[in-house]
């Protein structure tokens, strides 16, 4: 059996894992942001005709998978597995989406790192010979997340300047083995360890998650012998403005300067004038930015090689109420574009 691990954590996919299709849906606020023109569909309002925000999130997740399949004239039965996760308790949006699909389902949870957890697991299924084609999808909805994880939205609680804004958005991806035309290929993946530096402030998750992101980035460079210059872009999932600076600093402390090509999905998705304070967050953040901005840029040839490190704060309201600090994780995936 061929060992596909490099170093301690990194996985080298021996077969080309092609991202053959992808789609994104976002809410109105994200549609008005700087990446607005790249998303496949923008909701007119946060309910979009549904009776609850939770139902809207589920519809968004389901619809983004349908769009991704339709772009390549694929049907649901063409998928061997559907991998999905979201922020709602019991990953409700993913479960109810899977219900309508009739495709074997793998429910995953990594908070806002879920998309990359899914992309890596999906690639493992294909590279290991367990599947030919898988769908991976992920979502979050601002209002559904706020009322579940923080305060009743009607209360209008003032947000701290360190708080991030949960993205209303979803992204869906179709991965295939041995695709003839390989414009977007997943070449490597790295599944992270849980890091908790003792931060207990649930309104500053960027700072809490930054050490986990740094750990995964540093580990990847140490495992592979690569360095930041091997990438056009290193991009974290949702550290926001505050966590981004901290991550860059932590990575530099280990001798890797990523200042020249490092960004964060949560920084890119909103304009500073949109009153989101420290930036975007949520499973839908990296899920929609990858499909709505990064991969299109790769197809245009503007980006050739990216390292996406999605970050997740693995807290729960219960753990916060019980005085716990915030365990965090970051999973990474390397995607190569047209050469």
């Amino acid at each position: 059996m061929q060992n596909k691990k490099i170093g301690k954590q990194t996985i080298n996919f021996l077969n080309p894992i092609s991202v053959v299709s992808f789609a994104s849906i976002v809410g109105p606020k994200e549609g008005q942001g700087p990446l607005g023109t790249g998303f496949d569909y923008i909701l007119e309002n946060n309910l979009d005709g549904e009776k609850s925000w939770e139902k809207t999130e589920q519809k968004m997740l389901e619809h983004s998978l349908e769009i991704a399949l339709a772009k390549k004239n694929l049907l649901l039965q063409d998928l061997d597995y559907f991998l999905a996760g979201d922020l709602l308790n019991q990953i409700m949006s993913s479960n109810f989406t899977a219900r309508s699909l009739g495709v074997p389902y793998i429910g995953i949870y990594g908070a806002c790192s879920t998309l990359v957890e899914g992309l890596v697991l999906g690639s493992i299924l294909i590279d290991g010979g367990f599947a030919n084609r898988v769908g991976v999808a992920c979502s979050s909805h601002h209002d559904a997340a706020e009322r579940q994880l923080r305060f009743p939205t009607e209360l209008g609680v003032q947000r701290t300047m360190t708080a991030q804004w949960t993205v209303t958005g979803s992204g869906a991806y179709i991965l295939e083995a041995n695709s003839e035309k390989n414009d977007l290929i997943i070449t490597q993946g790295i599944l992270g360890k849980v890091i908790d530096m003792g931060q207990a402030n649930a309104t500053d998750m960027g700072s809490a998650m930054a050490p986990a992101a740094a750990d995964t980035i540093i580990r990847y460079f140490q495992d592979t012998g690569k360095n930041p210059k091997d990438f056009d872009l290193i991009i974290t999932g949702d550290l926001g403005n505050i966590g981004r600076v901290l991550c860059e600093e932590l990575v530099l402390q280990k001798g890797f300067d990523i200042s020249f090509n490092y960004s964060d999905c949560g920084v890119l998705i909103y304009d500073p004038g949109q009153d989101v304070h420290a930036g975007g967050s949520g499973c839908g953040c990296s899920a929609s930015v990858l499909a709505g901005y990064l991969l299109p840029q790769m197809l245009k040839g503007n980006l050739k090689n990216i390292f996406l490190v999605a970050t997740g704060a693995l807290l729960s309201p219960t753990s916060t109420q019980q005085g716990e600090t915030i365990p965090c994780i970051a999973h990474g995936v390397v995607i190569q574009g047209k050469s």
Copy 2:
């Protein structure tokens, strides 16, 4: 690349995936049940010295992994990955356990089917060459689950006769590639589809989950050409007394008679006199019964070949409050003992 799928959903592991160690911890009620003597540790009370039931569950999950490792003189750093999930919102027990391990972590959610989701994914990681050794663990805690998913426990709400009793229990498993002495081998796995027959009664989850279990069992026989006689035991995770009968009937309707060798972990774990109504449920049900009863029976030679189909009700309190029916799933794993 070798295709490891048989039929539509079943996976054939080409490399022997050995279950080299396992451990279980249960609460006092489960310890007093008919399987009580098989568990590694029985809590004296439901708190076991912790300040909350949630912390007790996390300690139980962590401790069961430690016991499983210690039985084979293994250390945490010997694990390539840790896969875990539980019933608490944001899979809190698993996340906080992973925090203390320093092992790359894959968070999964399949409600009470989570253990088998983990065993199949763990086997995939090993069979695909991505890992040499993985830890898989799963837990539930009666009181933590009740107050989160149903009613405040202090309220003492009367339970319906169709309701099941969430098991306080955890199970941990160490899977390895190419172990020299293979007494317990995972040979096949099947990841299920989400089935929802329109049942909306959250106090009768056995009936809701039975069609999902039947779907996975029938699909497995159709995929492989095997029949019920090929197993010493076919056992579902937590259908309980009511769901068990329904599952048997649904499988028979497709021509497979499992009446002679079919049981359910939720039926076995409690004595009818323990006032649990329809039987046991929860992630910890199949997780503790497999480690505390089934695998020991296999090592003794009393069982040679089992098909464990863990069942999960993918509802959430929010989905029930919003009038939704219950989506369900069942994942299966075939384990061979001493030949």
